[in-house]
Each structure stands twice: as C-alpha cells, then as structure tokens.
Assembly symmetry: C2
Homo-oligomer: 242 residues x 2
C-alpha cells in the first residue's frame, strides 16, 4: 500500500505541531496544501517537493495528492490547525475510494479553538460549540439556526471564518442573532494570527464585538453564562469549589 | 515573576504532544497532575519531581502547584488532551490571583475530539458541539438540554465522560434524548483508550450505541445529518463538490 497522510500542523508556529506530525512530514517526499501553509513549512522542511494550489480547488488538490501517493511517493496533505476541523481529511476520505492502492492516515493537530483559547485564558472549559460563518458550502439560514440554538443551550461558542472580503458584515449579523438570546455584556474574546507574526488577543463584550471589523485570520469566542474576566483573561469556570 | 504552565499533553502517547509542550515539560522542575497522567510522563521525563494527587482534589492540587511556583520552582500542571477543554487551566486562572508573583501560561494540546476523530475518520469536519456527560459539576437537566438543542441544530456531537462506575446508564439516557430528534440509523463512532495500550475504534448506529456499555476512557461521536460511512470510516462531508 502507498501512504497518504492528512496532517494538522497546528496554528502556524512549527513549535505547536505534534512530534508525530513533524516526524511524518520529515518522512514524506511531497507536501500538498494551500499556498500560505506551504510557505510556513518551507523553512522547516526545505527539501520537500511542494504541491501548491490556491483556495477553492480543494477536490483537485486532493486528487493530485492521491495520484502522487498512488504513484509510489509518500505524500502529506497539510491543514492549518487540525486535519479534521474544517480541514481536508473528510474530502480525502471521500475521494480515496478512487485510489484503492492508497492507505490514508489522519494526523490530528491543535485547532484554533484550542490555541486561541489558550491565548485568551480558558474560554472553552465547559461544553462548547464550534461554528463556521463561511456560507460558501453551508446555507446562511443553517448557520443562523446553529448560532441561535447554541446560545439557547448556553454553550460557550467558538466561531471560525468570521469574515472575508465578500462577507464583511457576517460577524455583525451573527452577533445580532446571538444578542437575541444573550445579554450585551456577555464576555467575548478574539484571537488573531495565532502562532504567527502579529499574534493578538482581545477581551470584549458581545455588544462591542458586534461593532468590530475583524479579518479572516481571527477566531472568536463567545462566553457562556458563567464566563468571567479574571486578571484580564477570559475564563469559563468548570464549577470546581474553590 | 515565577512561571507556572498548564500543559495539555495530548491523548497519551508522548508522540502526540506538541514540541512546545515537550520543551516546556523538559524545562520544568515539578510536574503536577492526576496519578494516571503522571505515570504516562514518568517514562519520558524520569528526572522531575512529581506532585500527584487523586481525582476530586482539583483545587487543592492547583493551590499546591501555585505554591511551588511561588516558591521559585518551575512548575507544569499537566492535563490529558488539551489544557482548556475540561482541563485545569480555568481553575488555575481562578486561583492564580492568590499567588500574584506567579505568571500563568497555557499550553494547548490535542483534545480527544480531535485525536479520536482522526482515528475514526473525519466526524467533526463541519460545525460541532462538545458535551460532557459528567454531572459532578453540572446539573443533569442542563446536560439533557444541551444534547437536545445540539441535535436540533444538526451539529456533529462529541461526547466526553460517557460513563463512570456511578453513572453506568448515562450514555443510554443520552442516546434516548438524542433519539427523540435523530433517526436510529444515525452514524456514530467510539474511540477508546486513544494513544494508549488497547486503543480501539468502532462505527455503529445511534440505536446500537444506546445499547452499549462503554468505559470512562471512551470518547463518543454522533454524526450530523450528512455523516456517512466511507471505506469503514466515519465521515461528515464539508460539502465540497467532488
């Protein structure tokens, strides 16, 4: 069998990759991924062949990677964060049946909910929901429904893909929906460019969040009803007696 | 300032720790944690002092760790999986104000939703919720409500702490609630003892899951309405055109 790995490389800093991910990338001949992640890896793994395609050609990139593996080369498809959370592992497994001589292994990594959460404090210490605001592949009505039900369930909420050039007002729209269930003073947090140049965090209220402009490299955290600001950090208590 | 780190060590295999976590543990004098995680680390880091307390003494253990750090030693509080997902980072940050000369840094890790998901395939490729069935610190009614609303929102759901000696029927009760919203044939998965001796995965239906006995080292995955079994793996498509 030929090996294809789908590897979550963490938020960006090679230090936040698992030892397993690093060992596997070192063992591979070919690394396939979005341009920006390939550039992050080129410094650490300069001697690999890189198979780079722009956004929006996901199936094509996965087929190219599977074909390379099928040809006998050891291939890693890399994803920022985790391989499975809005990553490429699903698409690879959907397409792998077309390449029966390839064996797919998924290598998990630290997704932005965890790395951004650690920077902010402990926003996801209790039950939580992860929701992407990208409506490229999901109807906006479904995203709205999930936001509303997550707020009703008193989940802490982590929001991925809060913005893009074409969707500048999506975070404001999401905050309006959340604001129908949650108070304006609800503790929220932002983590930007996690593990990369320009990393930043900010703790705000839901009311303030709804009036902010954020870029696509930002991960958003909405506290649950117990979330507080302690020493400048965003903390959702689990409920232990102090 | 004295340094205290809260470190997520991943599922168990030292290979699934991040390089950052490993580097920080190497630099520490004292490692504090539950007995079982301390034992996992002793082989990799034999020369550390271990501060071990049993379950249910969380605040005491955290205060001991903070006091050690306050005394000038470099201390790591270790958590399985991530430091922030049902981990110790929240409690440490709640208590850190009592030790103003300590500086707390949170080091994220691969939580069981990601490591178990990778073993099963790609169950959490789309929006998802993480829910613990432990009612030690959370009223069962709140857990029920979250399960029901998560099912109504069509989230993929990852369930932590599905069982314990005193809560042998909790998974069955959860499946009954989920079954009021979801069809009995809904694709579900189990990942057991991830990254440790005896690691196992199984793909079943919701109906079958409700009749199973699982131990406390099992993580459960409930698919969303699009989740399918592909080549024996549990895959929640993101929606990319093939």
């Amino acid at each position: 069998m030929n090996d294809l790995y789908v590897v979550g490389i963490g938020p960006g800093d090679p230090d936040q990759m698992t030892l397993q991910a690093r060992r596997i990338l070192e063992s591979c001949d070919v690394i396939a991924g979005y341009t920006v992640y390939a550039e992050l890896l080129r410094e650490t793994f300069p001697d690999k062949e890189y198979l780079v395609t722009p956004m929006r050609q996901e199936a094509e990139r996965c087929r190219m990677a599977l074909a390379e593996a099928s040809g006998g080369r050891r291939v890693a498809v890399v994803c920022s964060g985790d391989a499975g959370v809005y990553g490429m592992s699903g698409l690879i497994l959907e397409l792998a049946g077309e390449y029966p001589d390839c064996q797919v292994e998924i290598v998990p990594g630290v997704t932005a909910a965890l790395s951004g959460g650690a920077l902010l404090g402990a926003p996801l210490m209790h039950d939580f929901a992860v929701i992407s605001l990208s409506d490229l592949l999901t109807p906006w009505e479904k995203i709205e429904k999930r936001l509303r039900l997550a707020a009703m369930a008193d989940f802490a909420i982590c929001i991925y893909n809060p913005s893009s050039r074409k969707r500048a007002d999506y975070l404001a729209r999401a905050c309006t929906i959340l604001g129908e269930e949650l108070e304006e003073s609800r503790v929220c947090g932002l983590a930007g460019r996690i593990g990369r140049e320009g990393e930043s965090v900010q703790v705000v209220t839901l009311g303030e969040l709804g009036r902010m402009q954020v870029d696509m490299f930002t991960t958003i955290f909405i506290g649950n009803s117990q979330t507080r600001v302690i020493g400048g950090r965003m903390v959702t208590p689990r409920g232990y007696k102090l």
